[in-house]
Symmetry: C4
Subunit: 370 residues, 4 copies
């Protein structure tokens, strides 16, 4: 009987969690858990409220264990158990669920064991927007990045030995060994500069100055590489995201593949929730919109006109008068394609047929609103 309850709970829960990667509940749990763990380490605060802190920690732990089991069961049901268990998110879930208990069972002092709950933050990773993009950049640029890292390490080693040799007699306490000098070198080359270890001999300071300047260089290279990678990646992402949608818009259906590729380079996708105002009457406007899917509503004087998939609006702003003539609001979750004024001009120039279609439509509407 109680088994039935649990099972139904599982069922409901599964339906909720299994789909998306993280539920709002899970995010809340991570936040609460980490916060509680932080409080745990502040003696006075913990004394004051250890009941609450413990309660929160245990609740979160139970939640994550439960979530993990549900997912395992769910995946097992689909015969993808091993696939999930070995996937990064699977491993993260497992760690989140098992690390703390394992530590507690291992007899580690509780307040230390609970520190492992920091690993829960890893559960957030898959949910980070554009993380995939970041990873791709790092992978593609790994070559140069790696070489910069190697150069970084070589500078660190050479500099630290030099400083050790120059400073050891004057400051045996801080430069008494190469490891100590290495600490100095890293702190300096990253331009962190704690100031706990500082060369004082003239020669030592010259070496240090060189290291700092190399630090700027390393920075520069690093950034230069990443900037380059990003530029390429961003172009690629926008293109992919947009292409899917463009090819679905009837308005562009007539175009050949070359033209579509062309258009795709110009459009930007934008996803809006329901009842969001896209255009406010009287505002300045410098872009027009195509509805990829969803629906928008134009508030014309007296009546409201609904625009469905493939419809476009805001083109008036690009044909002379820059001031928006009416409010436009989404009625359901809507994906728009945004065409900036600048690209609009280019597009019109390259594809006169499109220009005509839009002009005609604009005329028609102008008539109507009269």
């Amino acid at each position: 009987m109680s088994k039935r309850l649990v099972l139904s709970a599982l069922a409901r829960f599964t339906a909720k969690t299994a789909g998306r990667n993280m539920t709002k509940a899970a995010y809340a749990a991570v936040a609460a858990g980490v916060a509680a763990m932080v409080v745990l380490t502040v003696a006075p605060a913990y004394e004051a409220a250890h009941h609450w802190v413990d309660a929160v920690l245990w609740t979160c732990l139970v939640y994550f264990v439960f979530e993990w089991l549900v997912r395992l069961r769910h995946m097992a049901g689909q015969g993808r158990l091993s696939l999930y268990a070995l996937s990064s998110s699977g491993v993260v879930d497992a760690i989140g669920a098992l690390a703390v208990p394992a530590a507690l069972l291992a007899g580690i002092e509780p307040r230390t064991a609970w520190l492992l709950s920091i690993l829960w933050v890893l559960k957030v990773v898959p949910g980070i927007p554009g993380l995939r993009q970041l990873r791709r950049v790092l992978v593609l640029e790994s070559g140069p990045l790696l070489s910069v890292l190697v150069i970084f390490l070589m500078v660190v080693f050479l500099a630290s030995v030099a400083e050790y040799f120059l400073e050891r007699d004057v400051q045996p306490a801080t430069f008494g060994s190469v490891p100590a000098a290495l600490w100095w070198a890293v702190v300096t080359l990253t331009t962190t500069g704690y100031g706990d270890v500082v060369p004082i001999t003239p020669l030592g300071r010259m070496v240090a100055a060189l290291v700092m300047i190399s630090g700027l260089g390393v920075f520069g290279l690093w950034t230069g590489i990443l900037a380059t990678g990003f530029a390429a990646e961003t172009r690629r992402d926008n293109f992919l995201k947009t292409w899917e949608t463009v090819s679905k818009v009837p308005f562009f259906a007539t175009l050949g593949p070359a033209a579509i590729a062309d258009v795709t380079h110009m459009l930007r996708t934008m996803d809006l929730p329901a009842r969001t105002m896209i255009i406010r009457k009287g505002q300045q406007g410098d872009c027009m919109y195509f509805i990829a899917n969803g629906e928008a509503e134009v508030e014309l004087p007296g009546k409201k006109v609904a625009l469905g998939e493939g419809a476009f609006f805001g083109e008036m702003a690009l044909l002379g008068n820059n001031v928006r003539g009416a409010n436009v609001t989404t009625t359901k979750v809507t994906r728009l394609l945004v065409l900036d004024l600048v690209d609009f001009r280019l597009l019109m120039a390259r594809h006169p047929d499109l220009a005509e279609t839009i002009d005609a439509e604009a005329q028609r509407r102008a008539q109507e609103n009269k």
Copy 2:
């Protein structure tokens, strides 16, 4: 009677302020007010001149309150009251006018209450050049920027717990709790490195080294993303700004839209006040100018020739002799389109007809000057 005076004052003032976002007077008031507030906090200086300081502060306050009321009245007059009151600048004006009085009425110690006058600097924001551009970049790139921020925070949390675990026994004073360690982590990951909290255990230092290097990474990603966004945004802005103007220059009127788009990519707009020298005789020159609107004056030997909208000059420099042959000065506020030597060459290559027009004109002038 006095009412009339105030009203007329209001009228004049409205005419002055309502249009532009900030009057010179307002900028001065912000500067003076903030300066006075700063002095207010320096005990000796304030003792010496508290009359003056108070006078300045109160004057500024009155000014801002007055300005706010005027604007409210003005907008109410146009029936845009709510629109303004809720707009960012409206809110800023309200804060500027009400924050300090509210604090004073709330019985807060005056010298503390006046600190709120720092909020006056917010009035400068709308006047920042290219702020809109900055905002657009941040919005468009918000996705990756956000993910970098999340990564930043994760590193901070993981690192601080690790350091807390490694250092708490050795340095209970500085690493005695995770919040303390968090402070260390932020200071380190941003490569600020105050040096007030520094790991001393070997393991702790290794973790710290990793954090610093990640710091470089975060920097790099951040910059890479922004650099990418900027490149795109700058192109877009120039294009828009120029297109408007180009299409107005008769010289380019003959071109088809494709060619105009082409030209637009090459030209740069430049706005000059009256009586500014554009070209100085005898200088090296590597660009030519088109007058979008306004007027310029060429000082030929003996006579002065006025060039009106659509005229161009400086083309000699691009056709052989690099040295400017005459002074050219603006006679009124003028918007110029600048064409660099490099783009001039491309343009001539792509649009021979333009080349001819310019050559012909150049010939004619050469004749004349003989």
Copy 3:
């Protein structure tokens, strides 16, 4: 007799080392040697294990001397002795082999002499991936980089004299001479900020603030220059690397040079070891692959199909269904050309003939798998 042994050893060793720039053994030796040298400087650790440390150091030294001699002999054999001896790697090998012994013979205290073994890390340089690329960027951008450096130095000098003048009376200990102020200036302009030397007079702090802000500027310029250089360099490298391969793929052989240049811009090379899984069944896929050389194996239900040079796979993912239909694994070391979805679309648009070939092939395979 023993001579024979040595010679055969030499022969074998030569064969192993002479070809590649660094053997795995050499990398290990560098790592071990440097590690040992580091331990050498940590008094307690050295006391504990000085036999081991000395053993490791001497072994590495012998190894490097031996390696150097072998290489000299090998090059002499090919009559390229002087070429090698004077090449950067030749010099590095010589230093690695002779520095420490020279120091020891010169009667320098051993623990100091061994510090020179840090120079062994230089042997790693030639092996750094993408180092050549880095060098090219630095060379091409040397002009602007140099001017930034000059500006950097000028700011340092001007600022330090100013600070010396402003702070010398208040802090004779730290700002007592211009060299001391120079130290402060470098530490500040690189935003390292140790905090060992800090201005305290109001004017001195204003100057310092300016220096810090210039620091950001220097950073920015530096990075901007390098980023620009990198963008260009990366494009160039990929192009070169790919062109070689593309022209070897029969599939593209039919294309004219212009089209090949076009394709080359789109493809990315990827080198894989044997038995690496390229495509996992059920994954999302957004690129297709061409085999430049090597071999891959498709696991179709029931049978395994081998794909040789010039074959392509993964195209299904780009023609409608995004889910990979089968595992593909390399059977030997393989160089692939990767075509991203985005470029695939452009390519199809520009070269319809290619599109047909791929479509046809895709159809055929679809048939087969039925």
Copy 4:
């Protein structure tokens, strides 16, 4: 009689200096002068060698005064006196010549007066390579850069008032007034982080953390803007520099302007001194060279062939065999146009006629060398 001597000296000196902006002598004088000034401030060093130091300083001063007078005279001779006197370099020369004497006459303590000799470094500015380029970037991007600066200042002010409010009671010594807090804010926002002023209250540290993160943001924006500006500027510079030369090379003379613009985008100019080895036999080569002006010499077996303006070499490397077949050396100062392998391929693709010319020439030479 002595007048004659001086005049002739003047004459010779004028001829030497007036042309170029800085003579080697002047650079040496600046270096020596600044060095001496630095020594001047180091008490012990100065005691030891004050005769020398004074001698150097006075010599440099005399030199600069003399140089300035000569230039004034020279310019007066050409009637460009006022133009020079008011030009930046004229002002710098004047300062260099007059600052120290003025200070000495004003009765300032000599060792302080001589500090002004640091202004001599300003004489180096006009000689910085690519400075013009830097300036152009800063001018073109001044808009966004300025707005970032304004944002920077606003963050500084808001943060410092907040910190002052939060920390003044706990640390009256360091956060006792807003100016003090401003110092902290700048040190923190630039991520310099001396550590002399550090918030200790929890809230204060949170504010500080925000400031540091904004610091990264400011960095990022700054760099992003400059990177963008540089990319554009570099393209422009190369294009200009090359165009001049390309149009002079007969080999390209046959091309139409569009093609020249095309070629220009691909070539890179390189200026070499006499007797420099351009190509070393046996090296890997991935570019070919055109001689814009000057002369190069090919060392073929047995004979030496001289190549004059417009000739090209190194093309074999791009047609199959990558190993250089002969040494090539400049015989006089030579400007080369470098064509990278990648661009070579594109060029051949777009302009088959060029391809043929090069092929033919290559064949001919191959024949010859047989």
